[in-house]
Symmetry: C2
Subunit: 422 residues, 2 copies
């Protein structure tokens, strides 16, 4: 009897393409709302409203060089054989303003970043002068506004500088500071719960016993969320017991927007997640994706919550998070770039066995070649420790050869390179 | 007189190649030592000692499928016309161990991840059987160890899984958890100070006044450090006053390993940092780099501390941090991949003006093309808000054309892509 049930479940699982699965998840990602954070805590968040220029940039006509501010009309006719002479009447550094107005034949010594004084409309660089006490001469004429950074030439007041939905990086912070945003309106972060299931699991602090393995998925997902700056609630791992799992999930859903479970989504006798989704009335968006690893990844939605049923295999679990959970969380925060960045690379090793499903192979990408990170069975622990990318090998009837151009999803570039660019 | 001094300073500044400047900085980066953190705080840190397998992986002979564990010798001769029959004597899920030993003609129903019971040496998948109550038949023979994940086939006990000096990402955390590392030995983070100089600077919370701009470099650097997970001490910005700047720097150095200043490194009348380095007895490693922007970037070392004198221009300051400060901090932490990752891209726009110095152009890299992020003067605010990469255009006598292949340094891939992979 049991076997018959399992077969029925298998039969109703229709694999859908990865892109379609991603789309289904994103279409159920509701917005989290907004909140205000201090500028110094804004890095890594998603901007909820656009940054506008609250003043022109530059805010005044500025000298881009160290030199002398002059009236361009006074430089007319200057040449090597007929040098024109100026008297220096003042000196200003960045942050100071000359109280004087530059008159005929006069100049103000000026440092980079300082405002061009009244009367002047050009800056002569030191290198273009011969100094002589409180005076200097030049040998060429200057155009009006020559060597002047014009007020507003970079940005006009009111202009949108960074659109809502942007990821706030250090450059964004510089812009926010420039325009006086001591507080920043950002997207609220979803509350995410992590709940591992599996009778085989013991906690990281516990000794192993026969048949047991340590729960590595919960800390891993916590780290994936931590990288995104998103907090989490970590629930105690549950044994494979339908009632206990259902109860734990129902309880967790009362205090989370998104619940990530691991394990229990396959079709074994103790894979209770499908039954749990039925019991709590969540709509299963899909329970089979045409991908390896992670084909049993299941996503359900109900009461405005998203439930990610990731596989218990660490590699499948990792990939399921990056492909489905991460973009969903980013979409909930209104991010306009929620997907993993991708590029093309040269495949570093043969992958000759054809597979009807798309494969996502953990790999080391060095900016040119993507090489499988090792033993790549879905439960391999060693490959998950390596690599910064997923090679995408579309499903089909043929394998792939070293040297083929392949798509690569970039998991993060924080680790960097062992060598300075050649 | 003043002019003469400035000229002399200019003359003794010999630009050195960027790669050499990076190397000089790294050769002065002393190690920070190590500390222990809880596993859940280890993401983003640098591993101080290798992670070793504290047990084999898998820890026991494991079933990779749902099916039946049998003795392979009992399957000999099975065929479609001569099916072999087994009696099911027990059932085990992952995390449980059968108390029974599989004898002749016997089988144990087994779920994925469960240990293969004593006596058995092969697993028959459900799909390969016809069930019949508490028995089943098969139509093909099985090899010894067929469908068995062998104890230790992924990792042997004691094997090094992740080397010291590795960046700890989510996959690393999974490995640490698997092997029971509830605490992790990581590199101590350097104590970094940020001190902006410039009479023109007002704080982000202050209104602008004539000639003033807001201090955007300090919050920007704080965000660059925050992305690296490194804390910082933020000092009050200083006006361009030699005594005050020297005093602030001396005081900051008593409580920091690395001090980042912005501004004051050029050769204007109020650029006091060169004099400060002399006064505090720090060795200037270089004060001119053959790069744009940021050619005046100055790095000094003394008493085991590193002083980064970054330019006051936000783009120069940003680039100086990413090229010099970031790898130095990572090297101090023993990171084995301290450099910005790089790749090749197609230049998205002409850059026809030749420059003898290498240019680092802030750009939007989409996985294929790198397009300058906009107005790219070194003080442009708007370009710093955009882009995730620096295009590297080697100095020389020629310009570059759209379509040329160029080197690109990747500043971070956290932001992601607006589209799922095509």
């Amino acid at each position: 009897m049991r076997k018959q049930e399992a077969v029925e479940v298998v039969e109703i699982r229709k694999p859908i393409p990865v892109a379609e699965a991603v789309e289904r998840v994103l279409s159920h990602a509701g917005k989290t709302g907004t909140e205000t954070v201090p500028l110094e805590e804004s890095e890594g968040r998603v901007l909820a409203s656009p940054v506008r220029a609250t003043h022109p940039v530059p805010p005044f006509n500025r000298s881009p060089y160290d030199g002398f501010a002059v009236r361009s009309q006074d430089t007319a006719g200057a040449s090597g054989s007929s040098r024109v002479r100026f008297r220096v009447i003042d000196e200003i550094g960045a942050g100071t303003v000359s109280a004087k107005t530059v008159g005929e034949g006069e100049a103000v010594r000026i440092m980079t970043g300082a405002p061009v004084p009244d009367g002047a409309d050009a800056v002569v660089m030191f290198e273009q002068t011969v100094e002589d006490g409180e005076a200097f001469t030049i040998r060429k004429p200057f155009e009006p506004l020559e060597n002047v950074s014009l007020k507003g030439e970079d940005l006009e007041e009111g202009e949108e500088v960074v659109p809502a939905g942007s990821f706030i990086h250090a450059g964004t912070v510089a812009v926010l500071a420039t325009f006086g945003y001591a507080e920043v309106e950002v997207a609220k972060q979803p509350t995410v719960g992590i709940l591992a299931t599996g009778t085989e699991l013991v906690d990281v602090t516990e000794p192993l016993a026969p048949g047991k393995i340590r729960n590595s998925n919960s800390p891993m997902i916590a780290a994936q969320l931590r990288r995104m700056g998103i907090g989490y609630k970590l629930y105690d791992a549950q044994s494979d017991d339908l009632d206990a799992v259902a109860e734990a999930i129902e309880s967790a859903l009362t205090e989370t927007d998104v619940l990530i479970t691991t394990g229990g989504v396959s079709v074994g006798d103790f894979d209770y997640l499908p039954a749990v989704y039925g019991r709590i009335g969540a709509d299963v968006l899909f329970n089979k994706v045409a991908m390896r690893p992670g084909s049993v990844t299941t996503v359900a939605a109900g009461s405005g919550k998203l439930l990610f049923g990731l596989s218990g295999n660490p590699s499948s679990c990792f990939t399921g998070f990056e492909l489905f959970t991460r973009p969903a969380l980013l979409r909930m925060m209104g991010a306009n770039k929620p997907f993993l960045p991708h590029t093309k690379a040269v495949l570093g090793e043969d992958f000759t066995k054809a597979n009807p499903f798309d494969r996502f192979v953990r790999a080391v990408y060095d900016g040119k070649t993507a090489t499988p990170a090792g033993f790549n069975k879905s439960n391999a622990v060693s490959s998950i420790a390596r690599g910064n990318a997923l090679i995408v090998l579309p499903g089909g009837t043929r394998g792939y050869r070293a040297g083929d151009e392949v798509d690569v999803l970039l998991l993060g570039m924080e680790e960097g390179s062992a060598k300075w660019m050649e």
